[in-house]
């Protein structure tokens, strides 16, 4: 009995002693900043930064004075915290989110054959170039869903992937995975995107898809800011830097292929501040503002699309957005 107690206690004591001593002797010096940086990184180990994981990237950030912030998933708060820890400013760049450029549900975009192989878009693409008649359309097998480290993409009832913009961090894994390059990164504050990347002509497309871009150029002619263009047979492309989010393109598109990602807050005029200069009425692309000179102007909420041009141009700061 006493032997047992002494022996097990003794082994435990000796082991603890050895471990304690070696913990000090063999201690690997770790930069305390590295831990602080690691705490701020997302911790999904997605590898979008080009390193083996968040820990490896934190190591690089602390050890290399010139390392740039390569993590696309880090938010502004964390970026600021990391900058504070490292005592140097890290450029963040515009936050991006993934956008799926296809609206071709099985009902609206026909398939050429029934595919029964591995449940993976990349495998499906190899079999005679994919089952979808449109060679630019989403195959709908959800490889992007599988690869997302943030659980931000889900297959909808319509057999198309949907991006949860709150969860998406713009790491771009789905972009690399999609064999048809349908998913692309757009600025997180982008409001309108064209959900089609087809280069086929309208005539060809009519045979297999009801929701593709038919290159009619109506949006290009309508856009007051020259932000949306149809060039070289490509589907319409929105230049997000020029886009003022007026939404006119959505209302004129005959196939409804332009998607609205967020609802823009509409504008209203503060009566006390308005001097009645009529500048807002002149710049409004949708004629939503009316009024008489020298009297407060009024914005028709039914017409306003929230582009914000009037807010920018008003000399008296009398126009503001409604809070949603």
């Amino acid at each position: 009995m006493i032997n047992a107690v002494i022996l097990v206690g003794g082994i435990g004591f000796v082991a603890a002693l050895i471990l304690g001593i070696s913990a000090v002797t063999f201690a690997v010096k770790m930069d305390p900043r590295e831990k602080a940086v690691l705490d701020q990184l997302p911790g999904a180990n997605c590898g979008a930064c080009g390193f083996a994981g968040c820990a490896a990237f934190a190591h690089e950030l602390t050890q290399n004075e010139n390392a740039e912030m390569a993590c696309p998933a880090v938010n502004e708060e964390a970026l600021q915290a990391i900058s504070d820890v490292l005592c140097r400013e890290l450029g963040g760049g515009t936050p991006m989110i993934a956008f799926v450029g296809c609206k071709g549900t099985p009902e609206k975009s026909i398939t050429r054959f029934s595919y029964v192989g591995p449940h993976d878009c990349r495998a499906a693409q190899i079999v005679a170039g994919g089952a979808k008649a449109c060679q630019y359309g989403c195959l709908g097998l959800g490889s992007c869903v599988d690869v997302c480290p943030f659980d931000a993409i889900h297959m909808g009832e319509d057999s198309l992937p949907h991006v949860d913009d709150l969860k998406c961090t713009g790491c771009g894994k789905c972009v690399d995975t999609c064999p048809r390059e349908i998913i692309r990164l757009v600025p997180a504050n982008a409001n309108y995107c064209v959900s089609c990347i087809s280069r086929d002509s309208a005539k060809d497309m009519k045979a297999y898809c009801q929701v593709g871009c038919i290159k009619c150029r109506i949006c290009e002619n309508t856009c007051p800011f020259d932000a949306i263009v149809v060039v070289d047979g490509n589907a319409a492309i929105i230049n997000q830097e020029k886009c003022r989010k007026c939404g006119l393109c959505v209302s004129v598109c005959p196939t409804g292929v332009i998607e609205q990602l967020h609802v823009q807050a509409k504008a209203y005029i503060i009566e006390e501040k308005c001097r009645g200069c009529s500048i807002c009425a002149q710049v409004c692309p949708v004629d939503a503002i009316s009024g008489k000179p020298k009297e407060p102007y009024v914005i028709d909420q039914g017409k306003c699309v929230g582009c914000g041009l009037c807010i920018e141009k008003c000399p008296a700061d009398a126009v503001e957005r409604l809070s949603i």
């Binding site: 032997n3 047992a4 097990v8 082994i11 082991a15 070696s22 063999f26 201690a27 690997v28 993976d120």
Partner: protein, 191 residues
């Protein structure tokens, strides 16, 4: 020849995972990708051999003279766990590349039942020190073989259209059962 048979016997005939059903946890947990399975196997070979060596000494030079062999389990766990911790610390300091390769797997298997199992079997089967170490290497090779084979099969599942109810662990357990049946075919190879 005897030692070769010892290895073959431990690796194939009495495979630790598929015949003795020890170490099922890492077998299920770390078998999703072949490269992690290989890393885990390396760590198991390392830890099992080391643990067999030390526990054999503990048993015959501490427990037997004092007549308290009934404390084998608890004493072995204690020694193996602290030994692996120590080795992990030393590797981290001495050889960072090796630590990168084995590091995360080492703490995972410190108190694994396959490691403890091989230590106890060494005593039960009355092996001498050399035999115990060779038996441990064989057992670890068998564990690694089962793990890597299983990981290869599970990687292929990714591409198969498995009924929803069977996806993930259920199909893995069924496959493990069939793989175990296949390994039963080795029985009788070594007496």
């Amino acid at each position: 020849m005897y030692y070769v048979l010892l290895i073959v016997g431990a690796a194939l005939v009495n495979n630790f995972v598929l015949s003795r059903f020890l170490g099922i946890c890492p077998f299920m947990g770390v078998s999703k990708r072949i490269d992690t399975a290989i890393g885990m196997s390396m760590a198991v070979i390392f830890v099992m051999t080391l643990a067999s060596f030390v526990t054999w000494l503990i048993n015959y030079y501490l427990l037997t003279p004092l007549g308290i062999q009934y404390l084998q389990t608890i004493a072995f766990i204690l020694v193996i766990a602290s030994l692996v911790q120590l080795v992990e610390m030393i590797i981290q300091r001495v050889s960072p590349p090796l630590y990168q390769a084995l590091g995360i797997f080492l703490p995972l298997i410190t108190t694994n039942c396959a490691v403890l199992g091989v230590a106890l079997l060494n005593i039960q089967l009355k092996y001498n020190l050399l035999e115990a170490c060779i038996f441990a290497i064989g057992a670890a090779l068998g564990f690694g073989l089962a793990l890597v084979v299983f990981a290869g099969m599970r990687e292929d599942f990714e591409l198969n259209n498995i009924p929803k109810a069977f996806r993930g662990t259920p199909i893995a357990l069924i496959t493990a059962g069939i793989l175990s049946l296949a390994f039963m075919g080795f029985s009788g190879l070594v007496k």
